[in-house]
């Protein structure tokens, strides 16, 4: 059935909103080369932010038309369909439909399509064309299509869809000039695209559309697209920041669904298959498939090894080893460099300022606080380099595939692997990576356990404790590495264990179903990887410059006031300060773990960020720790005694402290991001309680059992 003309009007010429350059939205399936195109169009002119209320990144860039006129491009998260299944797809849907108050509906849409897989990619294009906005279709990966022996005819596609179609190879920058020219056009025709909505569904579409116009203040064209979407949006992922449906429209929708359910009609399936019928006809005209007997492709040959039940594990293990070895060895040089420069900056301030509180605030508060965090930048960059590399080559999906079997044992699926891997660098990007997990309970479980993966901020604590634990320089390196490995293993094991526990108790659910595309292998886009690293570095440095700077200054104040009388040693000053009082107050709770009030100060201050523990110990035990060597601080720690003369940092206490840091939720930034992601305080508080509770119990067990056994 053809829709009546008032619902599907003839395509009018549409001029761009006068007076300002049009805003483009960039949409496409995952793995179709969308971010490569976005980077090619906008270069370094990108701003990364967040959509309020969700941890989905909002990327906005500026591209230039052929005449140098700036054009805004919003890069929307990759989506297979506008019927969203995960928060990132929901953001794409809501921005395109103009449902978000924080992002105006884009004027024009760039739809990027993988030419090697036209049929499935056209599904999203088909939905986007319904939106009644001018669309430019970018036919990417034309080179790969040609390699596969396929013939693709862009002109034919342009004719069928009634919109400009630009063939392109984004990786090589081919077709960008033509694309810029098309984007610069003052007017773009609307699609003449019409497809037959199945007769049984058409009246419902018309009624919901009318109600959306009357009750939800939608324009008729958007209303049509939205009504089609409402019928296929099964569990309608709602994310914060999207406007809800009016009660009247919701009622009409529910009425139709009820009626169809009673009749036993599968309306959603019917709509999908009628779209595919229309797409199939287009694809048959546009693509000539390649010759069939090509033999296994290079991707097939690689997959034969990396998805193999045995060799797959071997290759995943090798990749993981390579990543960890690189993080620990390569990062050392830039870390020493940063450390040295921070120390000389501090010395320079000391030399050029008169002694006093302001100087101490700058050196002991700001420089050592921020410096202590910035020093992890190289490690984080290396990890993101590898993650970017794995993603851009297509291996990441294989790793998730291999891990799926293991993850299914604890009730999660392979998609949770990527967030957990990122959490080895830092839980924050890890938690942000959970946005691609479709099942809400799975996502929550992944968020809850992600901070148990030993992040790079725990590393300095482990290093200091290992130095105190095995002070002898002649102890083989293997022992130290072994203890370190044990801590990483413990955290990982606990993450899986708690995931298992939560999936069986708090967040019980059906085993989630997973469908995941394994994209063909590609040479890594080093420019894209570099841009992503740059972006991460910037986000990290901005955080260090704001939140961590603030916390460092507050901590400095708490340990510097109230002032001790003249002539007091730094440790006497600390004991009487606000921080010292807090340490003394905490002592009864941590004494059974073998920790005294001085360690207590470290535990309290490192609640802001774990690595602060090391600098706090430096202040508490009055040792110069900021020359990049743990030796002087280690000596100071070994001299530390209880009031009754017992050694404070016994091997048991050191071991207990490490275990405490494996489990305890000592990171304000993570708590903040979990609060934002879960829309409330309930889950971050629960997470803090269960993690720190476990940490306390295990450290207690280590100390008490160890003492009883006579260690």
């Amino acid at each position: 059935m053809q829709l009546p003309p008032h619902i599907n009007p003839p395509a009018p010429k549409r001029t761009a909103a006068s007076g300002r350059a049009p805003v483009y939205a960039l949409v496409g399936n995952p793995n179709c080369g969308k971010s490569t195109l976005f980077n090619a169009l906008t270069g370094l002119k990108q701003k990364v932010g967040n959509y309020p209320g969700v941890t989905v990144e909002k990327k906005v860039g500026t591209a230039y038309s052929q005449h140098g006129q700036p054009l805004t491009v919003i890069d929307l998260p990759g989506a297979y369909s506008l019927a969203a299944r995960s928060p990132d797809e929901a953001v794409t849907r809501d921005v395109l439909l103009g449902r978000r108050s924080d992002t105006a509906q884009p004027d024009r849409i760039l739809c990027i399509v993988d030419a090697t897989n036209l049929e499935r990619n056209l599904y999203l294009v088909h939905q986007v064309l319904d939106l009644g906005r001018p669309v430019i279709v970018v036919l990417n990966m034309m080179d790969l299509a040609a390699e596969a022996g396929m013939a693709v005819f862009p002109d034919k596609l342009a004719q069928d869809l009634g919109v400009p179609v630009i063939p392109c190879e984004a990786v090589r920058g081919k077709g960008l000039i033509e694309l810029r020219l098309a984007m610069s056009r003052p007017d773009l025709a609307l699609s003449k695209h019409a497809w037959d909505i199945p007769g049984a569904i058409a009246p419902a579409v018309a009624e919901i559309q009318a109600s959306l116009v009357a009750n939800d203040a939608k324009s008729p064209l958007i209303a049509r697209a939205e009504s089609l979407l409402l019928l296929t949006d099964q569990d309608s992922v709602r994310v914060a920041g999207s406007t809800p449906l009016s009660p009247r429209t919701a009622e009409i929708l529910a009425g139709w669904q009820k009626r169809w359910s009673a009749e036993g009609m599968d309306w959603a399936g019917t709509l999908v298959s009628s779209r595919y019928d229309a797409i199939g006809r287009i694809a048959a005209e546009v693509v000539q498939p390649g010759t069939v007997n090509q033999g296994p492709s290079p991707s097939d040959r690689i997959d034969a090894v990396v998805t193999h039940p045995f060799w797959g594990w071997v290759s995943l293990g090798a990749v993981m080893c390579l990543i960890f070895v690189s993080i620990f060895t390569l990062a050392e040089y830039p870390m020493n460099w940063i450390d040295g420069h921070m120390a000389s900056l501090s010395d320079w301030v000391k030399d050029s300022m008169a002694p006093g509180d302001l100087r101490d605030l700058i050196t002991d508060g700001a420089i050592s606080g921020v410096g202590g965090v910035v020093i992890f930048l190289p490690q984080i960059l290396i990890l993101f380099f590898f993650i970017g590399l794995l993603e851009s080559t297509g291996y990441m999906a294989r790793a998730a595939f291999i891990m799926d079997r293991l993850m299914s044992r604890v009730g999660l699926n392979g998609k949770s692997f990527i967030p957990l891997l990122s959490s080895y660098a830092c839980a924050i990007p890890g938690i942000m990576a959970t946005r691609t997990i479709e099942d809400a309970k799975d996502r929550l479980v992944t968020i809850l356990v992600a901070p148990l993966m030993s992040c790079s901020a725990r590393l300095p604590v482990y290093l200091l404790m290992i130095a105190a634990l095995v002070p002898n320089e002649r102890v083989p390196l293997a022992t130290k590495v072994g203890i370190m490995f044990l801590m990483y293993f413990l955290g990982t094991f606990a993450a899986f264990g708690f995931a298992w526990l939560f999936k069986r108790t708090l967040l019980k659910g059906e085993p989630p179903m997973m469908i995941m595309e394994l994209p063909p292998y590609r040479l890594p886009g080093l420019k894209d990887v570099a841009l992503q690293m740059l972006e991460r570095a910037w986000i990290f440095l901005r955080r260090a410059g704001t939140v961590i700077l603030g916390i460092s200054i507050v901590l400095w104040f708490l340990s510097a006031y109230p002032k001790a009388p003249e002539g007091a040693t730094p440790s006497e000053q600390l004991s009487g300060s606000f921080a010292g009082m807090a340490g003394h107050a905490l002592e009864p709770a941590i004494k059974p773990l073998g920790f005294d009030w001085q360690i207590g100060i470290g535990l309290i201050s490192s609640f802001a960020a774990r690595e602060v523990f090391v600098s706090t110990m430096g202040v508490v035990f009055n040792a110069e720790a900021d020359d990049g060597d743990t030796a002087p601080l280690r000596e100071a720690l070994l001299k530390a005694r209880w009031p009754n003369g017992r050694v404070l940092f016994t091997p048991l206490a050191c071991f207990g402290l490490m275990i405490f840091y494996v489990f305890a939720m000592q990171c304000v930034s993570t708590i903040a991001i979990v609060k934002r992601e879960t829309n409330g305080w309930k889950w971050p508080l629960f997470q803090t309680a269960y993690m720190t509770g476990t940490a306390w119990v295990l450290a207690l067990l280590v100390y008490q059992v160890g003492s009883a056994l006579g260690f």
Partner: protein
């Protein structure tokens, strides 16, 4: 590719590696069924199983797709006779 034998449905996870199947029915969560159809995995789609019983790896329409066990159990396929020199058969 018509098969003269009576249609025997089996879940995708039980389809042997290298075999070709046609999707007969998909069951389970409606939202998930919809996504399968949207990704071209709907009824009548031709699937080549590449490997796996716990986690299945398949080739559909030129795309390689992984499905976990609970998803593959919900996809019922009819096994089709494989053409003797099918390009997509590997690792039998």
């Amino acid at each position: 590719m018509s098969s003269s034998s009576p249609i025997a449905r089996l879940p995708l996870c039980q389809l042997p590696a290298g075999a070709v199947g046609r999707v007969q029915a998909i069951t389970g969560d409606e939202g998930f069924c919809q996504r399968l159809r949207e990704m071209g995995f709907g009824e009548a789609a031709l699937i080549t199983k590449i490997s796996g019983t716990t986690t299945s790896l398949c080739q559909v329409n030129g795309t390689r797709i992984a499905l976990n066990h609970s998803a593959a159990m919900n996809i019922l396929v009819e096994r089709l006779p494989v053409a003797p020199h099918s390009a997509e058969t590997r690792r039998a």
